[in-house]
Symmetry: C2
Subunit: 344 residues, 2 copies
């Protein structure tokens, strides 16, 4: 399997608000480096750099003003004389207005965010667009034919980012950008399977009213787990998208035996949909030792997960999302890929 990787991700290393204090993000550069080392150690296949893409490609699923904001935010923030990471501090909740973009950077940061886990630093934009370009390159290779799977080693991750807001360490939605690129290259239907512990609220939101991208997510029940405000089982899609959104919220402590049932159900749903490509939002924070998640999967379970994804039987693009127990992130992520390959 081809792996797409870029060192641009190292430009992004930020702080987050958690437990009432600011701390270095759990989402660290070492995550991607550990996975890359494991890819090489296991001889998964060639490691290739991404192509370059114009921002218009990101704006196929994000709004142009949001993409422009991401590009300009650090410049506007640092122009005010501040040197700490740019963090949002107020958000347009409930009956507050999301229509008028504020002119001042502090307002813009909140206007385009859903949480305080998406600091913007001097290197964030380069890392973010590098990450999206990996997903685009991976999809382009699948669309060109000759490959039936690829791995975009994305960092920062993307699945929490919606059309017009960032959140949960995510800025551009790499999986959604790739799915749209697949459609733009001629695919009729794409399915996104999100196996990250956290609900992929951004991916759901982007495609919620569309029948051409099916979204299925297996995740910690939002009643008790981040992102809290999306990911319930009754969210089935809207309008023409109704019936094409499938959430599998599972309780804290879920192990492979509980997980497998949901995964197999999601796999059958996707197989029936018969997509031209499956995009897997690959988070391995379902691991038993993950410091900010609450499932109980073991190393070997990720081999089984790969096999279950292979059983869907469609060309598959893996897009890296979360996973914060760095000691095992390489083993677990590559186990999914190896399990997938072994079962094909």
């Amino acid at each position: 399997m081809l792996t797409f990787y870029s060192p641009a991700h190292q430009l992004h290393h930020a702080t987050e608000l958690k437990d009432g204090v600011l701390m270095p993000c759990f989402e660290t550069p070492s995550r991607a480096e550990t996975i890359l080392a494991r890819v090489r150690e296991q001889g998964l296949g060639e490691v290739l750099p991404p192509g370059d893409y114009p921002a218009e490609r990101y704006a196929r699923v994000h709004t142009p003003r949001y993409v422009r904001f991401l590009e300009k935010a650090w410049g506007e923030w640092s122009a005010t004389g501040r040197r700490h990471d740019a963090l949002p501090l107020i958000w347009p909740v409930r009956d507050m207005r999301s229509d008028i973009e504020p002119e001042y950077i502090d307002g813009k940061l909140g206007f385009y965010a859903m949480d305080a886990g998406v600091a913007i630093t001097a290197g964030t934009w380069e890392a973010v667009r590098g990450s999206a370009n990996l997903a685009l390159t991976g999809m382009d290779r699948l669309s060109a034919g000759g490959q039936d799977s690829a791995f975009a080693l994305c960092r920062p991750p993307g699945h929490h980012a919606a059309a017009e807001y960032m959140g949960g360490y995510c800025y551009l939605n790499n999986a959604a950008i790739a799915a749209q690129a697949g459609l733009d290259a001629g695919a009729r239907r794409i399915a996104i399977l999100d196996v990250d512990f956290h609900h992929g609220n951004g991916s759901q939101s982007i495609f919620y009213s569309r029948p051409d991208v099916l979204f299925a997510s297996i995740h910690g029940d939002p009643k008790r787990s981040y992102p809290y405000f999306l990911g319930h089982a009754d969210e089935k899609g809207h309008g023409p998208g109704e019936g094409f959104n499938h959430n599998y919220p599972l309780p804290h402590g879920t192990d492979w035996y509980g997980y497998r049932t949901a995964l197999e159900h999601a796999g059958r749903t996707i197989a029936t949909y018969a997509p031209d490509v499956v995009v897997v939002s690959l988070g391995v924070d379902t691991f038993k030792d993950d410091p900010i998640s609450h499932f109980k999967l073991g190393n070997e379970d990720y081999l089984r997960m790969g096999a279950a994804i292979a059983a869907i039987g469609r060309p598959t693009l893996f897009v890296m999302e979360g996973g914060y127990w760095v000691d095992d992130i390489g083993v677990n992520a590559v186990n999914v890929l190896s399990g997938f390959e072994a079962a094909r």
Copy 2:
């Protein structure tokens, strides 16, 4: 003029997220103490303690589950072993859901917040309800007759708090609770005049669809000023409340000459409405040296502001809101009250 004060506010002294770092809130206990000292120094009148009120009184303008959350939040947070101030970290923006209350405290904190300036500490609830009780006591004294003005020296402030969310140092909306209490005691119409630098988004939100409380606010234009997502001139009220909401967004650098025009217009609008009581959300962060605001009023201008409010000619309850330049907060706040009394 009677002043209502309680030392309970001293139990609340929190941290906020600002400029990308956590810092002690600009909203400090010394603010209220400085105003109290000036009230006494100027011989404004008797200083009285608040009455006690059941939480149901707050739930006349807030949702019962929100009031319950405020009461229980610190206990739920500290039960998880965390000792830092409880700060929200994710918010239900845009298409995220605001209907299902999360079960876990981290989710609840975001569910009921609009920003990261409303930390909850061990003493927050006692301070917050003490503050609301001051406003209730002030309104009760006006409703009972025999007084035509009173000053509720509230802290924490209240005008950013809406029916179901906290924000901007505000937890319970003291002015809104007082306005509702006035109606409940027999008033037919109440007007809220908000002269804080920051738009009183919570008060607007609570009464936006009602004709029995007119809301008028003079504030920094939300395009460049907190709270960014409400306070535009085109927000006129909704349904039966249409025509009873008046925003006067003014540019950074506005001095008394610019401010006076808006204040006089708001005063005439309120006089025409002929309310039984005027509730003034009294922020003095319009002062030229305020560290987080951008108007240019001087000490003497607050005497003029008090006279302009007196010209409305209705019984008036002053409810303390913001003002962060502590050196002058006592002079400026009491100047409004003295200017009001001198002009009556």
